[in-house]
Each structure stands twice: as C-alpha cells, then as structure tokens.
C-alpha cells in the first residue's frame, strides 16, 4: 500500500464499496483492535515457521531483525504454497476463533495447512489476524475518515459508532455505520482551539492586563462532553477515550446536561501533576489494573467552557467563559479530580519570564498566553493564543547508524541513530532525522560513506565519531528499549564538532534525569 494518506483512504473507500457485506464489520473490528483472544501465541507461530522452512533459529532472528515484523518475516520465510484457496475473511476469522481451547497439535495442523494455501501477502494478513496487531499503516482515524467518505456520514458520528459496543458477527455494516446501536447525537465534540508557538518578544504583545497566562500542561488535550445523561471524553486526535479514564466517570452524575469542557488529561497524584511518562502507563489500554490506578491516577485540568446549558459558548470572550467555568467546577461534589487549570498571575513580562523558568518543577512545558478578550476559535489562529514553551532537555550522543532519507533527500544518509556511553559500550538512545542544514547533511553523508563498517540493507553501521546534541521533551522508562528508557520527541539540536566521542553523556546521566522527573515534588495545583 502507498504511503500517502489520501491514497490509503481512497483504497479503503474502494474496499468498502466493493467488499462482501459480511466481511466489512470484521475488517472494521480488526482495524479498531476489537479482536477475539489470540488463538495461538507468537512463540508457537515462530517455532512452527522455523520448522517448516528448515532454517536455524539464529537465521530466523537475523531475518526478523531485517524485516522488523514477525508476521511479515514468517510470511516471507515459509516455502511457497502448494495450492491456493479463496475464502472469505469472515470464514478465516470464524475458523481461527474455533481454535480456542483446542490442543497445540490440532492448532499446528490448521495453521500449517493455512500457510500452505496462501500467497505471501495473504499469509501476512492471516498472521496479523492471529496476532491481532492489525496496525498496518492504517490508523483508527484514517479508517473513520474512509468510512465517513464512503457512507456520507460525519466523521465524529462514525467514531462514536465504532467505539460503541458491537459484535461483528451480529451487526450489519449499514447498522454499524448508521449508529443503530448508539445515539451519536449526544457525543459530538467541538474542534479544538489551538495555539502557535510564540515567536516575538513578550513585550510586543501589549500590557499584561490584556493577557491570561496559564501553565502549558504536558498530557492529553481532551474535551469532556455531557449531554442527555451520557458522558464522552474525546482526545485531541478526535478519538473517544471515555473508557480509558474511569476516574472521570463521576462527571456523568455531577456535570449538568449540555456541558462541554476543554482541558488536559493528566496523571495527578496528591494534587501534583506527574510526568508524562507516568500518564503514558494509562494510555491505549483495554483494561486497567489496580496498580495502574494507584500509580497513575487521572485528573483533568480544565482550560475552557465550550458549551453550557446546551448553549455554544465559543463566541463569548475568554474572561467570561473562565468565570462561568469556575462556577461549573466549584459546583462539582467530587473535589480534586477535575480542577481549574490555575491562572498564573503576573505584573510584568519580566516577572512572567522568571516564573516560566520554574515550569519543569511542576512537570509543565512552559506557559500559555491567551488574550482575555479572545473567542474560542476552531483550529489554529494567529494572534490570540500563544504557547511559550521552555527550552527542551539536551544530551550529547554519538552517531552509530545511518540510513538514507526519502523525498529530496533520498540520495543522502539523513536518518541517524544515536547512542550514549555505558562503560565501554554504546547504547542506542534515539533516532532522529531532522535538525541539520543541507550543507551539514552533505558533510555527514560523506562521513557515512567513508566510515561505514557494516551494511544491513539500507542501514549502515558507522564509526562512532560524530557527536550530536539531541534535544527532547521528556524521558520515560521503557522495557522495549535496550537503554531501559526512551526519549520523547528527540531531534538534533546541533552538531557538536567541538566534542569528541569520549565526551558524550552516559546512560547514568539520563537515568538520573529520569529519576528527577519522577520525583518532582512541588505542588502544581495551587488554586486561586
């Protein structure tokens, strides 16, 4: 499939125009992660594929390392099929579901014979059906847009429909799209008002009295919709995330019908905003366990009031909306979960700049400047709202891998992997591909071509010599990375030609930083 979003949507629309009606709800279920329990574990799949293809384990691993996807590796490594069969997707899915509870030899016979009757591409999809990780370049949002286009229905209604409770074996495509099982009229959100990064001196903005300053929180921007007794939580990506945050469900009882709040979903513990890395434990999960509820309890910091008593408030000025918002929050019975995002008081810009320097201590990313008389715009509009972020964290690293870019940079090595030091080892810490000038890219490119040690397909291992300062927004624990931690939004800040590879940071430096973000202990929720 193509890389271009529009082409992918066109292909999906095409599919839903032509596919068998029985298959459509299953396809939607797959793309949205509504899948039955895995009938066979990946370890067994891998073992059977190795057996069938007659290659040693290490060679399978080596291949997997190059392909980067287990389902795809298996599909490529198996011998060619002996015969091809043509069955409906829904038939495959029912067969897979019926494997549940059978013994391994039975499952093995089924899987091996399926592999033997499918071509490479089909095998790949079949393997994805088993493992359930059906994220092949199609996001939930993209699917929603395609369904909206195909059926001529508003995208947020589709989002609500497919997020609802339904079973692909019991619902027709028409009913699913039409939202027969849910009431989509209640859920629709407003487009978020967004801010540009501040690029002028604050002094040129006018007098402090004209502005409202707030902390810029590092969480998930969200909208809470309460209408006709139902509660909906939308994320900035216009995805319904209601189920993920049970802490906020009390709003269903306590918020008046016809109320829409704009704010930030954060992890808040004992009144303190926790680091984004802690909130992350709670994101995109089907089920939440007790530990997660205890360690990363959710709070909602409200910024704005978009609807009140069923009336659209977006054309009221900010100062008015804020007053109304304060009342709404004040009237909540349950305290300390849904809070007002505090206003930062300041007398002059210099003072505010000083306050901003303390952002990190609150796990905030800086400040938001909003004009007191601003309306709530749809999308981004220059002038009324600004984000004034603090400088990112930085770390000195050495480049260890390089890969060619795409687009106009297809002939240059532009995508790099960076490492920090741990003892005499280098540990990969980040991948980045932006932040250098064209001239610098050419220089690095020449270095890579001269100093490549090994070649793995498009990737070159290079002599660890070039030092780069990497900027990033946050740091989190990660079991998936060898370093045990992952950087958020890493990018190249500058090429440190003045530094040698033995002067780079160590993994311990980063671990220290991680600890310090987790131990932030200053109160971030001072209500005015």
């Amino acid at each position: 499939m193509s890389n271009k979003t529009n082409d992918k949507i066109a292909a999906l629309v095409n599919y839903f125009n032509e596919a068998d009606d029985v298959d459509k709800p299953y396809v939607i279920a797959m793309f949205t992660g509504k899948r039955p329990k895995r009938p066979v574990g990946t370890a067994l799949l891998k073992q059977w594929a190795i057996e069938k293809s007659g290659i040693p384990d290490w060679l399978f691993s080596e291949s997997y390392h190059n392909v980067g996807d287990l389902s795809e590796t298996i599909s490529l490594i198996l011998p060619s099929p002996t015969h091809l069969v043509n069955r409906k997707l829904q038939e495959w899915i029912s067969d897979l579901a019926s494997l549940q509870g059978k013994d391994d030899p039975f499952k093995k016979t089924f899987i091996l014979s399926a592999w033997d009757s499918l071509d490479t591409q089909e095998r790949f999809i079949f393997n994805k059906l088993i493992s359930g990780n059906f994220r092949i370049g199609v996001s939930g949002k993209m699917l929603v847009n395609a369904l909206a286009k195909q059926s001529g229905t508003a995208a947020n209604k589709i989002m609500h429909s497919i997020m609802g409770k339904w079973d692909p074996s019991k619902i027709t495509y028409q009913d699913l799209i039409g939202g027969a099982h849910v009431n989509t009229d209640n859920s629709w959100p407003y487009p978020f008002c967004l801010a540009y990064a501040l690029e002028v001196e604050t002094e040129s903005l006018g007098t402090p009295e004209e502005w409202q300053a707030e902390w810029k929180w590092d969480g998930i921007r969200g909208q809470i919709v309460k209408r006709n007794g139902e509660l909906f939580i939308w994320s900035r990506g216009e995805e319904l995330v209601t189920e993920q945050f049970p802490e906020l469900h009390f709003l269903k009882e306590e918020l008046e019908d016809g109320t829409v709040l704009d704010g930030e979903i954060l992890s808040v513990k004992e009144g303190k905003v926790q680091a984004f890395s802690i909130l992350q434990q709670r994101l995109n999960r089907k089920t939440i366990n007790k530990t997660q509820l205890n360690e990363a309890p959710i709070g909602f910091f409200t910024y704005d009031l978009l609807e009140y008593k069923g009336e659209d408030k977006r054309s009221d000025v900010l100062s008015l909306r804020r007053k109304q918002l304060e009342k709404v929050i004040y009237n909540l019975q349950t305290k300390n979960i849904v809070l007002l995002s505090p206003i930062v008081k300041f007398d002059n810009w210099q003072q505010l700049a000083k306050i901003r320097e303390g952002s990190r201590d609150l796990n905030s990313e800086g400040l938001m400047l909003k004009k007191a008389d601003s309306l709530y715009h749809s999308g981004r509009k220059r002038g009324d709202w600004w984000k004034w972020k603090i400088n990112p964290y930085t770390v000195d690293t050495v480049m260890i891998y390089a890969q060619k870019g795409s687009g106009r940079r297809a002939n240059f090595f532009t995508d790099y992997t960076f490492a920090v030091r741990q003892g005499d080892q280098l540990i990969t810490i980040a991948k980045a591909y932006s932040g250098l000038t064209d001239k610098e890219i050419k220089e690095v490119d020449a270095f890579v071509k001269k100093n490549a040690i090994e070649k793995f397909g498009p990737v070159r291992t290079v002599k660890p010599e070039l030092v780069f300062e990497i900027a990033f927004e946050g740091i989190a624990e990660s079991k998936r990375h060898k370093a045990g931690l992952a950087l958020r939004f890493p990018r190249i800040a500058r090429w440190r030609k003045d530094k040698k590879a033995d002067e780079i940071n160590t993994l311990d430096d980063l671990k220290q930083l991680l600890l310090s973000t987790l131990n932030t202990s200053i109160h971030g929720t001072g209500q005015e």
């Binding site: 293809s53 080596e62 291949s63 190059n66 490529l76 490594i77 060619k404 297809a410 397909g457």
Partner: protein, 335 residues
C-alpha cells in the same frame, strides 16, 4: 589446500600470478571487468578486459579513449600463464563470471549474478571450481523472487489502473539491466518512453546486435500529454527529480529486490514497489554455490556475515571478505 590464486587487497581482487585485478576500485594496470555497473568498474585503469557486450557500456560511461580488450563467453586467453575465460553471470547484458585456472587450480569470481533467465542477458551458467567468490546482496531467506512473468503481470495491472485514473506510470529501474529487462517484458503494452541514460545504452546494445523492442527517448520536446497513457522508465535517482514532479499526474513504481519487504517499500515512499531483482535470491545463491562444487567460498557485498555463517553451518567452507561493491550501486544512475 590449494595455492591462493586470488587475494583481496586494498585495490581490489588481485591475481598475483597473472598480475591483474578483477573489478578494482583503485586504478591499476589491467582491470578485468565483470560488468558495467559503477561499483564494479572505475575510471583510470590503464587497460580493461571485459565481455564484448560490456565494451559499449564502458565507452559511454568512462569515456571514448579507453584501452579495452574484449572476449566472447567461454573463449580462453592466457595472461602470464593464467588461463582466463568469461562465463555468463545472467546479471545484466554482458555480465560475466571470471574463470581463472593455473596449474589445475580453478577460481571463479562471479561479480554480480542471478540464476533466473531474464530473457535478455545471457543465462547464468554454473562453473565448477575450487574457489568461488560470491556476492550476497540478498543473502537472507526472506528474499525469494517470484518468476519474472508474475512481476511483469503485476506491473501491467498497475499500469492499467494508472491509465484508468489518467496517471502516467513512471517506473524506476537501473539504466543498465533492469531497464532493458522491463522494456522486453512490457513490450506491446503501450508506448515505452525512456530517459536518455537508458536510451544511450540501448543504442549501444542495438549496434552490438541485441534485439530490443522499440522505445521513445524522452527529450525536452517530449509532450507530457503523450506520456500520459504510456510507460516511462527512468533511473531511480530521477524519481524525485523536478521533471517527474512536473508531470501532471504521475504514479511511481520502484523495481528492486528491496521491495520484497514492506519496510523497503515504505522507506522509498513510492506509490508501488515491485520485487524485480538482477541479483540472485536466497535459493538462487545456494543453488549456484552448490553447483560450483567449490571447496572454499568467499562472500562479498551484501549480508556477507550472515550468509557465510550459514554456508559454514551447512558444510561449505566460507569466509566473509570486505570489498567496495554494492556501495555505489544506487548512485550509479546519476551519470
């Protein structure tokens, strides 16, 4: 253990007894050349020895005043007591494996090769030897090619779909090898327009008596509307160029073995990828190596470490060697 007939030096693969190099990357007295791709033949050697069909390629790419001696396949000459002959490598037109024989010791340097007959390059021929030098560009078991006819059918379907949407089909393929293969495989399926680097090579081949279907050379005067329903073949480096972008509606398809893997397709951000390669796939490499009955295999460019480890495990003594082949393959087309 036989006496080593070849050595891997900083200039290239060297035959001491014959005092010549095979595909050297630094200037030498005599460069025996396996084929015309830029990573296998460099400018600046005092003399070249290649297959007769490679001559026009070298003249075009390296300049007209080269000293070139040619040989047909299977004809043997003597260089300082070493018997040298070329055998078809099936990689591109004129590509040759170099067979060396000295005092009963036989060594074959295969350059780049593929075992599937592509309908245009002379078919690969296994040569029995004691020492075999093999590439390993696609030396992983995930690389198994479909017969080329299936790939051509996929390309034709894609071209037809593009026509339905009024898009020009632009195929990226190396000017030497892949381009001629596509021309032959897609002949009769619409007008084929080729970039001048391909047209120049084609002219040379036609002069040398090779039967190539008709194509149209793209010139500044070529009307873009004329291209609309046709097939356009350009070198890979040009797919990102201004000229392609100036086409009203173009869909690009990359023809390369790397397209076998989804990550390869994503990385090149083309509209379509076709796994059509001029290199041997995994089964191809293994069958070719076994057919040589070689006692020792030197593995050059590609997945050399993995592939030589596997050969050793299945009882074929193999060693990885570092060369400069493969590195500039992608740049080649800027010529």
């Amino acid at each position: 253990m036989h006496m080593a007939l070849i050595q891997f030096t900083s200039k290239g693969i060297y035959c001491r007894q014959g005092d010549f190099y095979i595909d050297p990357w630094k200037p030498v007295k005599l460069a025996v050349t396996t084929h015309g791709h830029a990573d296998h033949v460099k400018w600046g050697n005092q003399a070249y020895l290649c297959h007769e069909l490679t001559k026009s390629i070298l003249l075009q790419r390296l300049g007209a005043d080269l000293k070139i001696q040619t040989l047909p396949y299977r004809q043997q000459i003597d260089i300082n007591g070493v018997k040298l002959s070329f055998f078809p490598a099936g990689h591109v037109i004129g590509s040759a494996q170099v067979r060396l024989e000295y005092k009963g010791e036989i060594c074959v340097v295969s350059g780049d090769y593929k075992v599937e007959y592509d309908g245009i390059s002379t078919a690969f021929e296994p040569v029995k030897c004691h020492t075999f030098v093999s590439e390993s560009t696609f030396g992983l078991p995930i690389y198994k090619w479909q017969p080329q006819q299936i790939i051509f059918d996929q390309i034709k379907d894609w071209v037809a779909a593009n026509r339905d949407e009024n898009k020009t089909s632009v195929l990226a393929a190396y000017s030497l090898g892949k381009a001629q293969r596509l021309i032959k495989g897609l002949a009769g399926y619409g007008e084929i327009y080729v970039h001048q680097s391909i047209a120049n090579l084609n002219d040379g081949f036609i002069d040398a008596g090779i039967n190539l279907p008709d194509t149209l050379r793209i010139t500044p005067e070529t009307k873009k509307e004329d291209l609309q329903r046709g097939i356009v073949i350009v070198p890979p480096a040009l797919t990102e160029g201004r000229w392609i972008k100036s086409l009203i509606h173009a869909a690009t398809g990359i023809c390369s073995g790397w397209m076998q893997v989804r990550a390869g397709r994503r990385w090149r951000s083309a509209d379509a990828g076709f796994a059509l390669s001029d290199h041997a796939d995994w089964p191809g490499l293994l069958s070719a190596i076994k057919a040589t009955t070689a006692e020792k295999v030197f593995v050059t460019h590609g997945y050399s470490a993995t592939f030589s480890k596997y050969l050793n495990e299945i009882g074929i003594a193999a060693e990885e060697v570092k060369t400069q082949y493969g590195e500039e393959e992608e740049k080649e087309e800027v010529l």
